[in-house]
Symmetry: C3
Subunit: 376 residues, 3 copies
């Protein structure tokens, strides 16, 4: 597949300069680019790499002097990451999944498969499943009974779509992800220690031996349009109602979404995020890698949490959070600074104590003011 500079510029809705007829077969970092690749150098810091590479054309920052860099053509962009989105889409051939149904795929006769769907080897599709047109389903995928997938789904190797899961259009599910696993929900005959300390914040009357009784998950998972789920992530079904993921939300690898969780629209959940059961996440929430959200709490619209933040209590809309427990980002940065300053504070207080003690000693005998001796 080769593509001209003019075509790329059109795809990016950007301006081409120089020879628009140069054709390339791929994109590259500037220093590694060959003559049949377009170099990606959207920031002046990459200019030096261009000199080392062999590209004839490049995507450059607005105002770049491409002729001085020895290029024959250039595409100039104002917002480089946005240009990357268009460029990468243009050059991505996508996974190779042969059209039609592979003869080893096991598809229940009651399943409805949309036109133009490609279904790979060793796929298992259960009773009553509905799959939209143009779906691409790679090898070893399972889609269990009564699940439905909208148009243009891309389901990669080994992904598991559970029974009755409902998914919108243009869904992308990466390798070995699990949508619709059972929720983790158990109960004890009597009040458990966990229930007790939630009331008392740590105090326990006595400890009783008792076993866990399983609460089955009767709900499903409902996912909006344009959602993406990363490799190895797990989304649990709800207990009675559905676990829901709003349209446009993107989920990274190894993320855990518990039962009954409601995630809003256009959220980003980065790698290894964990959201405990029945938490509600608003729209456009961004949770950095390894963030955690406690069960049954609410995270408001537009909250952004830095990597590793653990959210234990409700977070109001628009809040920027950091740390464990999560507090406002600036509060957290201030707290860390304060902790670093503690050694000096300890020294100052010790000195004050000594000075004040000397002041007291200088006072009259029988001075009723005194400082308790440190027992340490």
């Amino acid at each position: 597949m080769s593509i001209s500079i003019a075509q790329i510029a059109a795809a990016l809705n950007a301006r081409a300069e120089g020879n628009p007829e140069i054709r390339v077969i791929g994109a590259s970092e500037p220093a590694q680019a060959g003559p049949d690749q377009i170099a990606l150098a959207m920031d002046p810091k990459y200019a030096e790499g261009l000199a080392r590479g062999k590209a004839r054309a490049a995507v450059l920052w607005e105002g770049a002097d491409w002729r001085a860099m020895g290029l024959e053509a250039a595409i100039l962009v104002a917002r480089p990451r946005l240009a990357m989105a268009g460029l990468s889409r243009a050059f991505d051939p996508g996974p190779e999944i042969a059209p039609g149904r592979h003869p080893t795929a096991i598809i229940d006769p009651s399943a409805s498969i949309g036109e133009g769907a490609a279904i790979g080897p060793f796929v298992v599709i259960g009773r009553g499943v509905t799959i939209g047109p143009r779906a691409r389903i790679a090898s070893h995928v399972t889609i269990a009974e009564e699940a439905s997938l909208g148009a243009d789904a891309l389901i990669l190797q080994g992904a598991r779509i559970g029974h009755h899961v409902q998914i919108g259009e243009r869904f992308i599910c990466h390798q070995n992800a699990v949508i619709g696993a059972d929720g983790f929900s158990f109960v004890t005959e009597e009040t458990s220690g966990v229930e007790e300390i939630r009331q008392t914040l740590g105090a326990r009357e006595d400890v009783r031996a008792q076993g866990w009784i399983r609460i089955h998950s009767l709900g499903n998972v409902v996912i909006g349009d344009d959602v993406e789920v990363g490799a190895g992530s797990t989304l649990d079904r709800g207990t009675v109602r559905a676990t829901t993921i709003g349209a446009g939300t993107k989920i990274d690898n190894l993320v855990h979404v518990g039962h009954n969780v409601q995630v809003g629209r256009d959220c980003l959940l980065c790698g290894q995020v964990g959201i405990a059961g029945s938490a509600r996440i608003g729209d456009r929430v961004v949770l950095g890698g390894q963030c955690g959200v406690s069960d049954n709490i609410f995270v408001g619209d537009d909250v952004i949490a830095g990597g590793g933040t653990k959210i234990y209590t409700n977070a109001p809309a628009g809040r920027v959070l950091l740390g464990s427990p999560a507090v406002r980002m600036e509060t957290q940065i201030e707290a860390q600074k304060n902790i670093r300053r503690l050694p000096r504070l300890f020294a100052q207080v010790a000195e004050l104590r000594s000075v004040v003690e000397q002041l007291l000693d200088k006072g009259a005998a029988g001075n009723p003011v005194n400082i308790r001796k440190d027992e340490e």
Copy 2:
């Protein structure tokens, strides 16, 4: 499948009032309930939802006035979550795995498969495997050589049971979980930097380049009765002895249990918990989501750790833990409060220093008492 209110009440060991002959086909949250569903409204806060839904019958809290809510029948329960366990079991049809052995399953002739087992498509069962009666094994599962599974096992899609793993009765293993992966155990020719800083708590003499030599895992994993392992979780085999999981323990999604770890009975390990090699976890321990346990330490019976707690040192039985490093929950809450109060403390100390300095200035010239000037 329809079921009468009387049957549900009997299953829950609870009291039905009104018309016990009403039949339902499922359960629902109150506001979404249709006339053929039983509404679940075990708390007065759900009463309002009942008015919006169309349920004719509901499960209600003890003492609820169901007639005033326009219902025709009600089941009254004292402990709602316990009722949910019974209800959800009654309504869960379970995964659809056809009885018998799917023709595409590859089962070693030496394997012993119990009566009534259902084995799905593309399953691979190795040499000398023993599977108990009534096991249900979904598609794409592998069970490697010499592994054994007790009666009534449910193994879901893509789960991997490693060689020689021994599992008790009623085991539930969710999608893509891995039981019996190799342990992560490596050694260097000479003392490694990691070994050195464990001794010195951070100090290193010098840094040496050296490679890692693999320690193979010869042990297996031994799992008691009534254990459940969540989607994508990984349990490593022991180096020489077994990694063990006690009866009744429930493990959530994406949990990592390292080699040689011993987990006791009736524990709950929530989502994304990680337990490093050779740690020992007592009975009835509850670790909230994303907790971590260091290698080679001991966590006593009945310990409960809040989400995100990192346990670096032995924890005595019954302790309620929070934070990183883990301390008693009330100590952690107090510490967080103290950190929030630091800005005022800094201000108070600064003021004290200034006041005391002024006091000193008022003293006689030649006053030997003084405060060191802040070098900042």
Copy 3:
């Protein structure tokens, strides 16, 4: 398979004493050892277990008096963990993967499979794949188009090797790991809230609704020789360049390595570590379980981070880190100690305030020195 004490000693490059002709079929912890097993008791603390077990021979620490322990033979080692590496390799029969190609494996005719490779059931190997000699590929593995694997690879059940991924010799990939998933990279039309707070460290001008546009991953993953990847781990491909893992690096279970990340040689990434996009990790870096590394930062050679450490900023070579945010291990330990001492500090300051106030009261009326009253 039985092996003599003399053979074991030779494999360990260690000294045998007593009867070197005793043959064993496996290794065991001392207390559980049978007469046909060699007991592993490389530390005096295991001596007591030997008395309870039935071993005739043992691997013991240097200088141990094996005759007094009732043994007939002993192998004496100076560095026990190193001995374990040799011992465990000698006794590990490895997974049972039948030689040749299983008839159910689907191998593209254009793929090049090295001599002596064993390929299990339901494996799918794509167009243009290259697999080195003696590779062992277990059931349900997928290797996508144009990927290449060096000699002696061991790929376990359900692992996914993505298209164009390049892997060196002696690669070990555990169950359900995913090498070469798409990177998690999205962009908004206008500057997003995340971009804004990275500049301002928390402040946001206003919150705008906007969707995420996908940046496709055009790069691949390039992995050196002697690398191991644990069960369920995910390594994302680069956006334009490759994600790289240096030779000799070992990765544990459920580890997430983001797009464009560069990991050096001989690193250890323990369970559930997460490395965000475009981070660079030096050589011989050890990250304990559940560590996190922010995107776009650099972690120098020989850094060691304790479990749960979150690295937000560049870390210089050789640094030993702990905590969140990561600081030097001794600084972290000191900070925790200081936080524990805060209650006393608060008490001391309160007392000082009261004492100084009394001192002031004793001064003349009209004293200009005073302490602000606590507003709390």
